[in-house]
Symmetry: C2
Subunit: 157 residues, 2 copies
C-alpha cells in the first residue's frame, strides 16, 4: 500500500471508531510531515455541538497547536472524503501543500449531509489556490461510508 493509502486507512479507522460513539459523521483526517504523522482527527460536530468540528478542521487545529504556529507550510493532509469548502479553505489558510482524499462531496451529499456542492478542483481554480489535490481510491474510506449507511441510529447535520 502507498503512504497515501496507509494514512487514508488510518483516518478511516479513527472515523469509524468515533462515528460509532455518536461523535459526528463518517469523516477522518491525518496531517503528516512526509511520513511522520502530526495529527489524527475525526468529525466531532455532534460531540462538541460545534458545526466547525469537521475532521480536517480538528486536525489542522491539533497540528497547529502541536507546532505552535498557524502555518503548516509543507505538511500534507489525508482526508477520507474530499474536504468541504470550509475545510478546503482552512487547508489553504494553513498553507498545507497536498490534499489526498478518497470519496467525494457528491458521495456524501447523497447520504443526506447539508453539503455546499462546490468541488475542491473548483475551489482551487476559482480561488487561485496553490494547494495540490490528489484523488486516491481507498477501500477503507469507501467502507466507512457504507458503515455509516448501515448504522441503525444516526443524526445528520
Amino acid at each position: 500500500m502507498t503512504r497515501a493509502g496507509e494514512f487514508l486507512s488510518d483516518a478511516a479507522r479513527e472515523a469509524l471508531k468515533t462515528m460509532r460513539r455518536g461523535h459526528g459523521g463518517p469523516f477522518g483526517a491525518v496531517i503528516a510531515r512526509g511520513g511522520r504523522v502530526v495529527a489524527v482527527a475525526s468529525n466531532t460536530v455532534l460531540k462538541n455541538n460545534d458545526p466547525t468540528c469537521h475532521a480536517e478542521i480538528n486536525a489542522i487545529r491539533a497540528a497547529a497547536r502541536r507546532l505552535g504556529s498557524p502555518f503548516l507550510t509543507g505538511l500534507d493532509i489525508y482526508s477520507t472524503t474530499e474536504p468541504c469548502p470550509m475545510c478546503f479553505s482552512a487547508i489553504h489558510w494553513a498553507r498545507l501543500r497536498n490534499v489526498y482524499y478518497a470519496t467525494t462531496i457528491g458521495d456524501v451529499k447523497k447520504l443526506g449531509f447539508n453539503e455546499l456542492t462546490i468541488s475542491n478542483p473548483k475551489m482551487k481554480k476559482w480561488g487561485r489556490s496553490p494547494v495540490r489535490l490528489h484523488r486516491v481510491a481507498n477501500a477503507d474510506c469507501r467502507g466507512l461510508l457504507k458503515a455509516w449507511t448501515a448504522l441503525p441510529a444516526k443524526k445528520l447535520y
Copy 2:
C-alpha cells in the same frame, strides 16, 4: 443607525481592540437572535496560533457553545468584512439565516492577506446555499481597515 449598523460597529470595536493587542487581523463578528447579541468575537489567528480562528468561526463556536447546539437556525451574523470562503461555509453549516457585512474580500486582499478570491455571492450561487447576504455601508468597518494599515508593526497570515 440601523440594527445592522449598530452590530457591525460593535464588531468593529471588538476587532480594533484585539488587533491592537496583536491577536490577529482587523476582523470582527457579532451573532444575534433578532436584537439580542449571542456572541461577539474577533480574529485570533496569531494569539491562538490557529489558522481557523477567524472572527466568524470564533463567533459561531461561542454561539454554539452557548446554545448547546451545532445549529444556529434563525440567528444572524454581522461581519465587519465579507466572510472568507471558510467562514461563509461555516455559516452555511451552522444554518445562520442572514449575513450582514461591510467591507469586501477584495478590500482585504489588497492589504496582503492570503485570501481565496471567491465572493460570498459566488459561494452562495455555486453552492446553492439558502444563506441570505446583505452588504451594508459602515464607517467603523472601513475605519478598522484604515487603522490596520496605519499600525506600525503587524503580521500577515
